[in-house]
């Protein structure tokens, strides 16, 4: 393998590795924490890209699965820092004397590790199967997912006695592996875990979308009934991919929670799930890199701009969305891949360089032909 192709192949990975190792020591803890959170959001964005960007299913309810993963880790952290026989503090406020049965298994770290992604995946799989089997698609699917989101939101908000209702569960003062979750060293560790999981999620999505399975997803987006008449069952594909997106959302929610310090029903607020779609749209629908970049960049911009001009962020976000819808239908990454920078350069007067054929220019016979034709044309004949 010669050097440039070696560099092309591993260069980006080396950069990412270097950045992941160096950043925790360069960035102040606050900024590092933000970056970690937003990278965690990149995982839910990958799921949105999988179901929307590739398969054409616009889900406005990914917040459900995000919150389920978040609550799973939140409940575990509530329990893990208690001595045996104690109850999480908030139960006392509502006169609950005994740990509700569904809390019991979350005292096990092992169980929680699986619950984070398996519970959202199961809920997504069940919901998806019922919806897709009945051939609900398009706008109806979007409305249905949003309605489901509202049902979950209201349910979680109202359950003080079960999960502290609208107050949510705090995690940053909880103990994990003998350390406080909110401590700097723990946050650094969580940042690295997040980086590894983002890469893992990206590789999973890439594997899913590259081969014929990915082709089938695109085929569902393009013409579902044609795929049916070709002998495939779109319901199975859609259910599977919706389940995977649910699992990714759960992992994302758990990572976000431990870095933001609290989980609350706000994770299931309607605007948050819509924002997930905007990240993917801006980053680039149908490009996995775009999903992650969109989530990280938009959220980072949001926090930087909100620090300076707190009132303006919503306007900027709206403008960004309009820009993408009108001018960059394939998002930033799509625009880049389709030669966007070159077109932009051409607009300001720098024409793109055309491909040349050195082998032709260096070919003696070709040049002789060229000269002969030129001479003929000059003398008034036709070549």
């Amino acid at each position: 393998m010669d050097r440039p192709s070696w560099l092309r192949r591993f260069g980006p990975w080396i950069l990412i590795m270097a950045a992941a190792i160096i950043l925790p020591f360069v960035l102040p803890p606050f900024r590092l924490n933000l970056l970690g959170r937003f990278l965690a959001l990149g995982i839910v964005a990958l799921g949105v890209d999988l179901i929307w960007g590739y398969t054409g299913l616009l889900s406005l309810g990914q917040g459900i699965f995000f919150a389920l993963g978040a609550y799973a880790i939140g409940m575990h952290l509530q329990l893990s820092s208690l001595d045996s026989g104690q109850l999480p503090e908030f139960f006392g406020l509502y006169g609950v004397k005994e740990l509700p049965a569904f809390w019991q298994p979350f005292s096990s770290a092992f169980f929680t590790l699986f619950a984070i992604w398996i519970i959202p995946a199961l809920v997504a799989g069940l919901l998806g199967f019922l919806v897709f089997r009945n051939r609900i698609k398009g706008v109806y699917f979007s409305i249905l997912t949003q309605a489901a989101l509202l049902v979950f939101f209201n349910f979680f908000n109202g359950q003080q006695k079960l999960i502290n209702g609208t107050n949510g569960l705090k995690t940053d003062t909880a103990l994990f592996l003998g350390q406080m979750v909110g401590s700097d060293s723990m946050q650094r560790l969580l940042f690295w875990i997040t980086v590894v999981l983002v890469i893992g999620a990206w590789l999973l999505c890439r594997w899913l979308t590259r081969g014929r399975f990915g082709d089938a997803l695109i085929a569902i987006r393009d013409d579902e009934s044609r795929l049916r008449f070709s002998g495939h069952n779109p319901t199975a594909y859609k259910t599977l991919v919706f389940t995977v997106a649910g699992a990714l959302a759960g992992i994302s929610g758990a990572l976000y929670t431990v870095q933001s310090g609290i989980v609350s029903p706000q994770f299931m607020a309607v605007p948050f799930s819509i924002e997930m779609v905007i990240w993917v749209a801006v980053g680039g629908r149908g490009t996995l890199l775009g999903a992650v970049l969109g989530a990280v960049l938009i959220n980072y911009a949001k926090s930087l701009i909100s620090e300076q001009l707190p009132e303006t962020w919503l306007f900027i976000q709206g403008a960004l969305f309009l820009l993408v819808v009108t001018a960059l239908p394939d998002g930033v990454v799509g625009w880049w891949r389709q030669g966007g920078p070159k077109r932009l350069a051409a607009m300001v007067g720098i024409p793109p360089t055309a491909a040349t054929y050195p082998s032709l220019d260096g070919d003696g016979a070709q040049q002789a032909d060229k000269k002969a034709i030129a001479a003929k044309l000059e003398s008034g004949g036709t070549p």
Binding site: A216, A219, D222, D223, R226, S230, G231, H232, N233, A236
Partner: protein, 247 residues
């Protein structure tokens, strides 16, 4: 010889409108059959019933002696019934090669596409079909960028890639040039014999080219059957196509 496909007394109604009415038709294995009929005769509904898109309110549809009623579209496709739609329908964001690779796949299970690799035989078949429909040089372009005729041919190739026993072809030459029409007729004639082919078409010259028995549908019912010449001279067919004589 037992029939490959048999429709007995099939009736379909949409909100009181009877699209098909006591339709009886049977196809022998290896046969090439043309179906014609004026607009609204129920030609496309008739294909919808066979392929499972529409469930008839009456009657029976038998394929190789087995009832197709109540089976979902992909199962019927797996039994060996392939369908080409009236307007060309291909997966626009995939290349012709990838379109064919999806169609050639042997199983409907998602894991097959996820873990299974396309075997050498299937790959050869895709390559051969690309050559047959003249899309070798465009194999890696976006199918959405193909011309109308190329899309029609790609869809026919997808149909053949499925290796169906019975091919249902809905208006294959709509919008094609004369030369393309001729090539399509040749292709369908080649396919008949190994496969059973049913063609729906408006283009009478094309039907004549096929040199196949013709079934005329009218108001969801079989009006008559016979060779092209017999059918064209049948007074009922003339009445249906040209309007009822008043005397």
């Amino acid at each position: 010889m037992t029939a490959l496909l048999e429709l007995r007394g099939v009736g379909v109604s949409f909100d009181g409108f009877r699209a098909l009415n006591d339709l009886n038709l049977s196809l022998a294995p290896g046969e090439l059959r043309a179906v014609i009929g004026p607009n609204g005769a129920g030609k496309t509904t008739f294909l919808d019933v066979i392929t499972g898109k529409v469930r008839p309110s009456q009657g029976e549809v038998l394929f190789q002696g087995r009832s197709l009623l109540g089976l979902s579209e992909h199962r019927i496709a797996r039994l060996g019934i392939g369908r080409k739609f009236q307007t060309p329908r291909v997966f626009e964001n995939l290349s012709p090669r990838r379109n064919l690779e999806l169609a050639v796949s042997r199983s409907s299970a998602p894991w097959e596409l996820l873990f299974g690799r396309l075997d050498g035989k299937s790959r050869d078949k895709v390559q051969r079909l690309l050559a047959v429909v003249g899309l070798e040089n465009l194999a890696h372009e976006r199918a959405g960028g193909l011309s109308h005729g190329q899309k029609q041919w790609l869809e026919i190739a997808m149909l053949v890639a499925q290796d169906p026993v019975l091919l249902l072809v809905d208006e294959p030459v709509a919008g094609l040039t004369d030369e393309e029409t001729q090539l399509t007729a040749d292709l369908l004639k080649q396919l008949a014999g190994d496969h059973t082919v049913l063609v729906i078409e408006h283009d009478m010259d094309f039907i004549r080219d096929l040199n196949a028995p013709v079934t005329v549908l009218h108001e969801g019912h079989v009006l008559c059957e016979g060779s092209m010449d017999q059918v064209q001279n049948d007074s009922r067919v003339i009445a249906v196509y040209l309007g009822q004589a008043t005397d």
